[in-house]
């Protein structure tokens, strides 16, 4: 095993934990994603181990650890914690310096960030405490419909017009979905309706910070093509989707770790 030092960014989210490792030369060495269990600090440990395995590095190679995300403060062995807002902005700007806006829809939070030309955060908004407009919302709905999350997006694209889902509250929307099914509404139209509902929520967040191109979408929901297309329609810009949208927060954290040396 190599003894070259590395820098770790760990994003401890409510649904998944992500880790990104950077080498001294500024190259990304590895990343890992695991579902986060009840114990957030344990998930952080596990995801780091997994990333280190991928990179073929030992634990003591890790020079600096920056933790971010909902569970950042549970990572007792971190060097520093930085919020997911700042980390997402940093990660997105690293991938493309033309990025001026970031929309992130994670498991429990959604946020919109406006970046200045130098990549610093100009303004940000986060969803309020309820799950509307988050990955959790889509997860609950997929379960209600007996679908996998992977099928959700492509299927939602099939419908020409979305079914009207008036409630953006997860609990109410669930019962609305059930009654739409009972009325003989197609699953595709319901899915499209759910994408429209989440888009409405996220769009209002995005509008409040002001969207300017290039707009990057991050977080697990960026993998849902149904939501992506609707958001693009709503904001009027094409979204840049990184290869692995879930790790952008961890990436930003790793960059900060590298800065610290």
């Amino acid at each position: 095993m190599s003894a070259a030092p590395c820098y770790a960014g760990i994003d401890v989210g409510s649904a998944t934990a992500k880790a990104v490792l950077f080498g001294r030369d500024g190259s990304m060495l590895a990343h890992a994603i695991i579902p986060s269990g009840g114990q957030l600090s344990l998930s952080a440990e596990l995801v780091l181990t997994k990333a280190l395995e991928k990179a073929g590095l030992a634990r003591d190679a890790v020079q600096t650890v920056v933790a971010t995300g909902y569970g950042r403060d549970t990572v007792t062995w971190r060097t520093k914690s930085i919020t997911e807002i700042t980390c997402h902005a940093r990660g997105a700007y690293f991938l493309s310096p033309h990025v001026r806006s970031v929309i992130d829809i994670g498991g429990q939070d959604s946020k919109a960030i406006s970046l200045a030309q130098d990549g610093s955060v100009r303004k940000f908004e986060m969803n309020d405490k309820c799950a509307a407009g988050t990955g959790r919302f889509l997860e609950v709905m997929a379960r209600t419909l007996g679908l996998s999350l992977e099928d959700f997006g492509p299927k939602a694209l099939i419908a020409d017009t979305p079914a009207k889902i008036s409630s953006t509250c997860t609990v109410f929307a669930e019962s609305e979905v059930i009654s739409l099914l009972a009325q003989g509404e197609t699953v595709e139209r319901i899915l499209a309706g759910l994408c429209a509902a989440i888009t409405q929520r996220v769009h209002s967040l995005a509008s409040r910070v002001g969207m300017a191109p290039e707009v990057m979408m991050t977080g697990g929901v960026a993998k849902n093509i149904g939501v992506v297309k609707r958001i693009e329609q709503a904001i009027g810009f094409t979204l840049t989707i990184p290869e692995e949208p879930q790790i952008i927060g961890a990436l930003g954290a790793a960059l900060y770790a590298k800065d610290m040396g």
Binding site: S166, S167, F172, S179, Q200, S204, S207, R208
Partner: protein, 408 residues
């Protein structure tokens, strides 16, 4: 008797008048003709006497609601940072200013001045402060203090009168043309005449069966809001009154087979007005009186023929909505008696805290003290995003079922 509902003929004329009103206002944009934006409870007589065209953002917002573009306009305002919890009329109009989207092509004509009277709520106070920041034109603010008691003291009337006087002088100075007192007195007279006609028409709904219902009055109140103080307004309401007389003579019911007579509290639900009208009609329920259209023919107990301005001030303190709960309870009871009501429908209007926050208490008093049941309908006057058809339908049906049980 046929269940076919006979439409109100005057509706066509009203649409013509309103189209003409907005068309002419729009045409005067950029000309020497001055335009004022004014709240629905504002002293419009002063504007008409000064030859200024009044525009009602509230009426405009309701039109946006009825034409179902309010949701997108609200969203446009939210994008500018206005909370989704704010009054949907204000959000609708802000959105229309930003996007120019409106049933009036190109949006409302820009104002040369603003007139705000807080006798309907203090939301308009904040709304007009923002309008002043947007348009940077003079704002005439008339403060009509909320009346916690049953009777309006002379000091309140004096206070409002003093502000009206300042407004009259101020507008005269603003455009270098003092307002002619005779013209003002005349305008006040014909405004009162229109209000009297509107009152008479609403009184006709006490007839069984009612020739028209509250959903119609919501539509037909547009001229009394926008044109009171003009001859056209009187002309229109004379026509409508005659039609109502005729309907009563011919026995034409707004709701054929009228079984229940209900009152409505709070503003209309503009985006569902037709559906709700049909829904209640199917259940043989006629809404025959509403606290909202009533406020446009409010007559203050104080009147002095020799001091028209002071009488006007007393009127602009406002009635139902600018008074406390005891006063409102008395008004509701009066309606129950005059219109032989079986119950009330209370639109708990998310947008309107001033109007809505006493409703639970009023419903409780109506039931406990007077045996009158109420239906609480949770909705919003303009923002349909919180509305659920199913929930509302179930509530309405259940309410009508309880009324049926009470009648038996």
């Amino acid at each position: 008797m046929s269940d076919e509902r006979v439409p109100i003929r005057s509706y066509k004329r009203m649409k013509e008048i309103m189209t003409m009103y907005y068309g002419m206002a729009k045409m005067s944009e950029g000309t020497d003709q001055k335009i004022a934006w004014i709240t629905s409870g504002g002293p419009v007589e002063i504007l008409y006497a000064a030859g200024i065209t009044p525009i009602y953002p509230e009426n405009h917002a309701a039109m946006c609601g009825a034409t179902k573009i309010a949701d997108s306009l609200c969203a446009a305002a939210e994008e500018r940072g206005f909370s989704r919890d704010l009054c949907s009329y204000a959000r609708t109009d802000f959105g229309s200013i930003y996007t120019k989207n409106s049933p009036v092509p190109g949006g409302l004509p820009k104002p040369d001045l603003l007139v705000c009277c807080n006798n309907i709520c203090d939301t308009v106070t904040k709304w007009y402060q923002e309008l002043q920041r947007i348009f940077k034109v003079p704002l005439f603010f008339i403060d009509a203090p909320y009346q916690y008691g049953m009777e309006d003291g002379p000091e309140i009337i004096d206070y409002v009168k003093a502000q009206l006087e300042e407004m009259i002088t101020g507008i005269g100075e603003l455009f270098g043309k003092p307002i002619d007192p005779d013209k003002l007195n005349y305008t006040i007279d014909i405004s009162e005449k229109a209000a009297a006609l509107w009152r008479e028409i609403q009184g006709m709904l006490a007839h069984k069966p009612a020739p028209m219902n509250s959903f119609d009055t919501f539509i037909h109140l547009a001229p009394i809001v926008t044109l009171r103080g003009t001859e056209l307004c009187i002309e229109y309401y004379e026509q409508l009154r005659d039609e109502m007389k005729e309907r009563i003579e011919l026995g034409i019911a707004s709701v054929p087979g009228e079984k229940y007579r209900l009152g409505w509290d709070n503003l209309a639900i503009w985006f569902k007005i037709k559906e709700l009208s049909d829904k209640f009609a199917v259940g043989k329920a006629a809404l025959v009186v509403s606290t909202y259209p009533e406020s446009f023919c409010y007559q203050a107990p104080y009147r002095d023929e020799n001091d028209k301005l002071r009488s006007l001030a007393a009127t602009y303190i406002g009635g139902y909505i600018n008074h406390g709960l005891d006063y409102r309870e008395r008004d509701l009871l009066h309606m129950v008696e005059k219109f032989s009501l079986d119950g009330f429908v209370m639109h708990s209007n998310r947008s309107c805290r001033a109007y809505s926050f006493g409703q639970y208490e009023l419903a409780k008093r109506l039931m406990q003290k007077h045996g009158i049941p109420s239906l609480m309908l949770e909705a919003d006057m303009n923002d349909s995003r919180a509305w659920s058809d199913e929930q509302a339908n179930t509530r309405i049906e259940a309410f009508l079922e309880t009324l049926a049980a009470r009648k038996n």
